[in-house]
């Protein structure tokens, strides 16, 4: 059973109420029990925060992918309440219907409408049975309405309307059940009673002194007290109670306190309560007014109480079983039916009777023996009901409902009325197979529908055989589509169908997909300047790889290969209300392109083929004037590579038939003047039997027909089918011609005994054998011909197919009417005061898209905003390039971005086009469509924009999209002393970390950063129940460097010469305090003074130029030293502008890379240098040990120049005595590998490196 549960009860303010908590616990218990039932939860996006809460809550009970979030419309979008209720109710029901439930359970029907809660039963659809839980309180409420509560009264009765349409009602007591029968005539058998078990905290225990003093301090309650729960909606009971208190003896009033408990919004009501007390002349001090305490205190209160009054007016605030579980003394109204939890008659008082109440209080409080019996009975009784029992019971009842409902609604009901159908298709004499197909189908389909054909052509010429069918133009249809109950499109891969693509966008309908590939049509649309349909289809269906190959294609054959490779049918499929195909093969193709469950609901209807009545072989001679002796082997259809005509020719020429003058081989169809056609002709010409091989050329109807009559055997071969069903084969069968085929594409689905079927990859021997077999055995020929004809008669006849059509059309229509697409029709009768933009957005969110592979959205906002040449940018570009070059696998990569001024993320189509160096004229940066199962990866670092989008990203995550961020480092937080003095970088970084750690995971650029982030989380992380995944990956070293700026490096020669003249240490990175330049300069200053003859080359810009000098830490000093050092330009070389090309050259000529950085996230220059084979002398940081794999020379992490100086001298010694061989090569990886590391992490293919939760 597929059970859908609406969990709004856990989202609204009732989240904290008894029923909210109870429902959450109950569902969890059901999930625990559930062995073969599938439980799906539906949440309302209007209560955003609670989604996180509930997703956390159900973690481990219900898979996250079974939690669905729906979006309604806002009240403000509507003119009036009624319209709003209808539309949001329909959207709610439709969303649930989309989930295809067997049973739906709504644990709480009365939810706060004003805050966006929506519940609705059977107002839009009756596709599934609905069970609903109703508080017993509902009838009391109904009695309490007076003229002042008009609006709440209306809402109440609207909900009661829904209640009437429910299929099963759950109540908490038999009394409520009977009342439902009484008030609403709801039969008792569609109701059930769940006695809500007490929570575990409600247990009987001895109250300690400490606890008594806690009660006294917190609530002002003494050791002896009587609890009376009150609800001021029912003032009568409250005043009765006060009167009873007045009748109690003085001693009682002195001994006991009277606790007026659990009132809501006490502030407003306190005055009234005190007033009543005063009016009766009672002492205020013996009363204590209590708001809703915590669960633990409530349990304590029950245990500590001397007596509790339980009336029908307090069911909302108190769960009876909880009171009993605590072993409290309870007295109840005598007419209160609490079965099946039975109560002693000794403990009841008569309702509305003050004396009875007062007497009962006195009696119970005085009789200790009675007290202990009552308490023990209560505890025993409560034990019978527990959560597990509740959960089992609910599931059982729901399953019963499912069984009885499916029993009732198992057979689909076909409409009795003759509906109107718009049939969009070309008709003869248009030269397309689909026109002929439609002409054959229409007379039979007209039996079921009142058909109007939509086509821009003349009526007289095409519909002569069914004069009753109307023909209308496309423009007429655009205006009058509302007249039709059903619409069907016959779609094929040719320009005849060009108009349909746009029509489908506006007027939904069922699509008959004659060709799985629609790429020629899409190409046609794009080439003729309409809109970039083709490119858009490629990007949506296959991602950027396909777009690049399409844009870079040169010339006809390359373009054609793209057209052949990608089906480009996504726009048609996504716009279709249902899909009809002619072969199972099409479905398999769809699964290959769009994932395993695609096409499950498609209808498979064989290609219509009328039977030829004239096909009597004996008439061959007289009809065609051919001698009986002549034997024709024919192949029908235009010639071409994919028809394997050459194979047939070869087999025939090799066989004995070729030598026999009675035998002819006939190709009925046009031979193209291409390489293939020419080769074929050449082979025929050069053969000695070539004169008996005939190619008829383009065959019109008459010629085609006559050859079908003449043929003795037909051979129809295919290769690389793209899903189209061969009409020629069916023609042959229909004429009773014995036919040989190979099992390629849809032909493989032909009935085995109706044709002679070779393997898909047959060899020439097989074919020759099959030919000889049929040529020699006349009875086998006749049998095969008969079987073929029988197959056409049985499975392809128009009448049979038309019936299948009707079934399919009605099935699709039924689905559409009862699910989200049907809402559009449903609302068309409403006024236009509605915000359709918001409605469309919500609908797009609610409808889970089909024919869509999961997306990986890569956030590259920083790239869009600026073009810094920073390390992070280079990393982003390298990884992005790898992602985009990726062959489409089980996901599609889409770069996206956000801007500071607009909410939401956009496709970065223009940027990506430029990035990939292809035209961007086609591209539009539209808002993104994301859905559950997608992944969002923030690849670069743009904290401000990302923090602006925080809310949006949160809602994305609530929908079920996994959000990951790449963390390059934590340095502004961990090492503030090397960042600008009064800058905000530390604070911003901290806030950014706080934000991203609320999402699903981080991809750190090294294991060290991952560990640092883990420590940071321990210190600053906010509590979370679902763990935060920490993963790491390493950068690649293979940057693609091209001399892009084109300028030659003028002074290069000179510098390289200088570098090569001595041992040279290289430092790469902008001049910032963190990089340890000052320390290095000082160290080298010492070295030079000591006469050590080495070069120091520094490649990097001066950093933080936009800041004031006093904010720049040691930069001014460093730059001063760089500029004024006596060795400047000699042994000290500073290149502040350096192209990638130049850097490459420098890497190639230095002797050692020196990195004195105090801290790095990764240390890109290290592996770049390693990539060039340079030895490394680096500070002993754990991150450097990690990225170099320990294969570097490390110097102590100390900021004094002496340490570094010594390290250089040591290094030089090793170098001078052993040369390079002493230094081990550092292993480096490629960007391809980096990309794969990221991919495996975000697709959860490898377990996370570390998990954090608190």
């Amino acid at each position: 059973m597929r059970l859908v549960i609406d969990m709004q009860v856990g989202q609204t303010s009732s989240q904290y109420s008894v029923s909210g908590c109870r429902s959450v616990r109950l569902v969890k218990e059901m999930a625990k029990l559930n062995s073969f039932h599938e439980i799906l939860l539906v949440l309302n996006s209007a209560f955003g925060d609670s989604i996180d809460f509930l997703r956390d809550e159900f973690e481990g009970f219900i898979p996250q992918s079974n939690i669905f979030v729906w979006t309604g419309v806002k009240r403000e979008g509507w003119g009036d309440d009624d319209g709003y209720r209808k539309v949001s109710g329909a959207m709610y029901e439709a969303f649930i219907a989309d989930l295809n439930p067997d049973v739906v359970w709504i644990p709480s029907l009365f939810e706060e409408e004003d805050k966006g809660a929506v519940t609705s039963i059977g107002a839009f659809t009756k596709k599934f049975p609905t069970a609903v839980t109703v508080d017993d309180f509902v009838w009391k409420k109904q009695q309490s309405f007076d003229s002042s509560t008009h609006s709440t009264q209306k809402i109440h009765f609207l909900k009661i309307e829904h209640l009437r349409r429910a299929d099963l009602l759950f109540f908490a007591s038999n009394r409520a059940k009977r009342e439902a029968h009484l008030y609403l005539n709801i039969p008792l058998e569609s109701q059930a009673v769940i006695c809500n078990a007490a929570e575990d905290v409600y247990v009987h225990k001895t109250v300690t002194d400490a606890e008594y003093s806690h009660l006294s301090q917190t609530y002002g309650i003494g050791e002896k007290f009587v609890v009376c729960p009150i609800d001021l909606n029912f003032k009568e009971f409250f005043t009765n109670f006060l009167s009873a208190v007045r009748r109690l003896p003085d001693s009682f009033r002195k001994t006991y306190q009277f606790v007026l408990a659990f009132t809501h919004s006490l502030g407003e009501q306190e005055g009234y309560i005190l007033n009543c007390i005063d009016e009766l002349g009672l002492d205020r001090s013996i009363f204590c007014i209590l708001e809703l305490p915590s669960v633990a205190d409530k349990s304590l209160l029950y245990n500590a109480s001397s007596l509790i009054l339980y009336s029908s007016f307090c069911e909302y605030a108190i769960n009876f079983l909880e009171v009993l579980s605590c072993g409290s003394l309870v007295i109840t109204e005598s007419n209160l039916d609490l079965s099946p939890v039975i109560v002693d008659q000794d403990s009841t008082f008569i309702s509305h009777d003050t004396d009875s109440l007062a007497n009962k209080i006195i009696e119970v409080l005085q009789n200790e023996e009675l007290q202990s019996t009552l308490k023990q009975n209560g505890i025993n009784q409560a034990k019978k009901f527990n959560l597990n029992q509740n959960a089992r019971y609910v599931l059982e009842e729901l399953e019963k409902l499912h069984v009885s409902y499916s029993h009732l609604h198992s057979t689909p009901v076909l409409p009795k009325k003759r509906l109107s159908l718009a049939f969009v298709s070309p008709l003869p004499p248009q030269k397309t197979g689909i026109a002929d197909y439609s002409a054959e189908l229409l007379p039979e389909l007209h039996r079921h529908y009142n058909i109007t054909v939509i086509s821009d052509q003349e009526k007289e010429t095409c519909l002569w055989s069914c004069p009753d069918i109307r023909l209308r133009s496309v423009s007429w249809f655009r205006r009058h589509s509302g007249q039709f109950d059903r619409v069907i499109y016959q779609v094929g891969n040719s320009s005849f169908h060009a108009q349909m693509i746009d029509l489908l966008l506006q007027i939904p309908g069922v699509v008959v997909l004659h060709d799985f590939f629609l790429s020629d049509l899409m190409w046609h649309l794009e080439a003729h300047g309409r809109s970039p349909e083709w490119t858009n289809a490629l990007v949506a269906e296959d991602g950027w790889g396909a777009v690049v190959s399409r844009m870079k294609a040169q010339g006809g054959t390359e373009v054609e290969s793209i057209v052949r490779k990608y089906p480009c049918n996504i726009n048609v499929l996504q716009r279709a209300e249902g899909v009809i195909v002619h072969s199972e093969f099409c479905r398999q193709l769809a699964q290959q392109f769009y994932g395993p469950s695609t096409g499950e609901d498609w209808a498979l209807i064989p290609l219509v083929r009328g039977i030829n009545i004239l096909s009597d072989k004996n008439k061959k001679q007289e009809l065609c004037g051919v001698s009986e002796d002549v034997f024709f082997v024919c192949s029908f259809g235009a010639l071409g590579k994919t028809k394997l005509n050459h194979r047939l020719l070869e087999a025939w020429l090799d066989s004995s038939m070729a030598k026999d003058p009675r035998f002819y081989l006939v190709f009925v169809g046009e031979n193209h003047n291409d390489d293939y056609g020419r080769d074929l002709l050449q082979t025929i010409k050069s053969s000695e039997f070539g004169d008996r091989v005939i190619i008829t050329g383009w065959a019109d109807e008459e010629v085609y027909h006559s050859w079908l009559l003449k043929a003795d055997v037909a051979v129809q071969l295919r290769t690389t089918s793209r899903g189209e069903t061969s009409k020629a084969v069916l023609d042959c069968m229909s004429y009773g011609v014995p036919t040989i085929v190979n099992a390629n594409g849809p032909m493989a689905e032909l009935q085995r005994d109706s044709v002679l079927m070779l393997e898909d990859n047959f060899n020439n021997k097989d074919l020759s054998f099959a030919l000889n077999y049929l040529v020699n055995l006349q009875d086998q020929r006749e049998k095969l011909g008969r079987e073929g004809r029988a197959c056409i008669i049985n499975f392809h006849n128009p009448r049979y197919c038309a019936d299948l059509y009707r079934d399919a059309i009605e099935r699709f229509a039924n689905k559409v009417e009862n699910t989200s697409p049907g809402v559009i029709d449903y609302i068309s009768s409403y006024d236009s005061g509605f915000n359709f933009i918001e409605f469309s957005r919500a609908m797009a969110n609610n409808i889970r898209p089909s024919y869509r592979l999961p997306r990986i959205f890569i956030d590259i906002s920083a790239q869009i905003k600026t073009h810094l040449h920073s390390g992070i940018e280079r990393v982003t570009c390298s990884i992005l390039r790898k992602f985009l070059a990726d062959r489409r696998e089980k996901y599609i990569v889409e770069p996206v971005y956000a801007t500071a001024d607009k909410e939401g993320y956009y496709y970065a189509r223009k940027f990506t086009s430029r990035f990939l160096d292809i035209p961007d004229g086609w591209a539009e940066d539209a808002p993104i469509d994301a859905c559950s199962g997608d992944v969002f990866l923030s690849l670069d670092f743009e904290p401000n924009i990302m923090m602006n989008q925080h809310k949006w990203l949160m809602s994305l995550r609530r929908q079920g999209v996994l959000v990951y961020s790449v963390v390059h480092d934590l340095l502004p937080v961990t090492m503030p002393e090397v960042f600008p003095q009064s800058g905000l970088s530390g604070e911003i970084h901290q806030r950014w970390l706080q934000m991203i750690t609320k999402f699903d995971g981080a991809l750190c650029v090294s294991r060290t950063v991952a560990d640092e982030l883990f420590d940071w989380l321990d210190q600053f992380g906010e509590p979370r129940r679902r763990p935060f995944a920490l993963q790491w990956f390493h950068h690649g070293a293979d940057f693609t460097t091209a001399n892009t700026d084109g300028t030659a490096w003028v002074e290069g020669r000179q510098i390289i010469d200088k570098i090569k003249s001595r041992v040279t240490f290289l430092m790469v990175g902008s001049i910032e305090p963190r990089k340890g330049y000052l320390q290095t300069l000082q160290a080298f200053d010492l070295l030079w003074k000591q006469g050590v003859d080495v070069n120091l080359v520094i490649v990097g810009k001066e950093g933080w130029k936009e800041l004031e000098n006093n904010n720049r830490r040691d930069i001014p000093e460093t730059v001063e030293m760089l500029c004024s050092h006596p060795e400047k330009g000699n042994r000290l070389i500073w290149l502040d502008k350096c192209s990638d090309f130049a850097l490459e050259q420098i890497y190639g000529s230095c002797n050692c890379l020196l990195s004195a950085s105090y801290g790095e996230g990764f240390g890109l220059p290290l592996i770049e240098a390693a990539h060039h084979g340079l030895p490394l002398l680096v500070r002993d940081l754990s991150v450097f040990r990690e990225v170099t794999g320990g294969h570097a020379t490390f110097f102590q992490d100390d900021r004094s120049p002496n340490i570094l100086m010594k390290a250089v001298i040591d290094w030089l010694q090793v170098y001078k005595s052993h040369g390079y061989k002493e230094f081990q090569r550092v292993p480096v990886q490629s960007w391809e590998h980096s990309k794969n590391q990221i991919l495996e992490a975000i697709l959860n293919r490898i377990p996370p490196y570390r998990l954090w939760k608190k």
């Binding site: 655009r478 205006r479 009058h480 589509s481 509302g482 007249q483 966008l505 506006q506 007027i507 939904p508 190409w523 794009e526 080439a527 949506a540 399409r550 844009m551 870079k552 294609a553 040169q554 010339g555 006809g556 373009v559 996504q574 716009r575 193209h672 003047n673 291409d674 383009w698 559009i824 029709d825 609302i827 068309s828 009768s829 006024d831 236009s832 005061g833 915000n835 359709f836 933009i837 409605f839 469309s840 957005r841 609908m843 797009a844 969110n845 409808i847 898209p849 160096d917 292809i918 035209p919 961007d920 004229g921 086609w922 539009e924 539209a926 808002p927 993104i928 469509d929 091209a1042 001399n1043």
Partner: protein, 248 residues
């Protein structure tokens, strides 16, 4: 990467020997006297990728405002003359086939059937066009005759009756003010600016679908659509179209 010096194009065939980027650059040098900029390069490579002929590119460049007419290139003028004729909606039917111009240069297969089909489609289109035009003329003639008859009747009335008669013959419009306001709200999400706008639309369109269709052509509508993701856009369009036809 070092670029080889471009060869100077003397004959148009030399131009067509080049491929891809080289071709576009050479064509730029011929017509605009400079290298192609990155945008231009991308644009024309995109056209080629779409299956446009090289001649199309040449033609387009030669129409550029900065084009220096280059007569020194052998065969260029003749080529462009024939090519433009082929592209002309009417003249194209008098040009034998593309093949004559280009087959020598490209050696490509000529799809005669395709061309024939295209020609037929074109003919059909113009037929339909002329038929529609004829229908319109007949309609207008009819209307004119009717008006004349009315005028004759009116002229025979006493002068005091003329005014009344004119009022009663004032065209009655199908749409109401509410319909127009409704249409604006549904399609554009706002009310019309003022009464004149309402009046204008009320008189201009004879049915609700017509009004809706016109409003859906407005730039404002496209901008509204643009704020939506592709799937929301589909919903939006369907909703509006559904409103349009259901109110008809």
């Amino acid at each position: 990467m070092v670029k080889s010096d471009p060869i100077e194009i003397k004959n148009v065939n030399e131009l067509f020997c080049l491929r891809g980027e080289d071709f576009v650059n050479a064509a730029y040098r011929v017509f605009l006297g400079r290298e192609a900029d990155i945008h231009g390069l991308r644009y024309y490579l995109g056209r080629l990728a779409l299956g446009y002929d090289m001649v199309d590119v040449v033609d387009q460049l030669s129409r550029s405002p900065d084009c220096k007419v280059n007569t020194e290139i052998e065969g260029l003028r003749a080529l462009l003359r024939v090519h433009r004729r082929q592209k002309h909606w009417l003249l194209r039917w008098f040009v034998p086939a593309k093949a004559n111009v280009l087959s020598g240069v490209f050696g490509e297969r000529i799809d005669v059937n395709g061309l024939l089909a295209e020609a037929l489609a074109g003919m059909n289109k113009s037929n339909v066009f002329f038929e529609k035009l004829a229908d319109k003329i007949v309609d207008s003639l009819g209307a004119l005759q009717k008006k004349t008859e009315e005028l004759v009747v009116v002229a025979r009335q006493p002068s005091s009756m003329v005014e009344v008669a004119q009022v009663s013959h004032a065209p009655s419009y199908v749409l109401s003010d509410d319909d127009v306001v409704d249409g604006f709200l549904t399609v554009l999400g706002r009310t019309p600016e003022n009464n004149e706008v309402i009046e204008y639309h009320r008189k201009k369109y004879s049915s609700i679908p017509e009004l809706y269709s016109a409003l859906m052509e407005a730039e404002e509508f496209f901008l509204r659509e643009k704020s939506l993701s592709p799937s929301a856009r589909l919903m939006f369009r369907r909703t509006i179209v559904n409103m349009k036809v259901s109110r008809n």
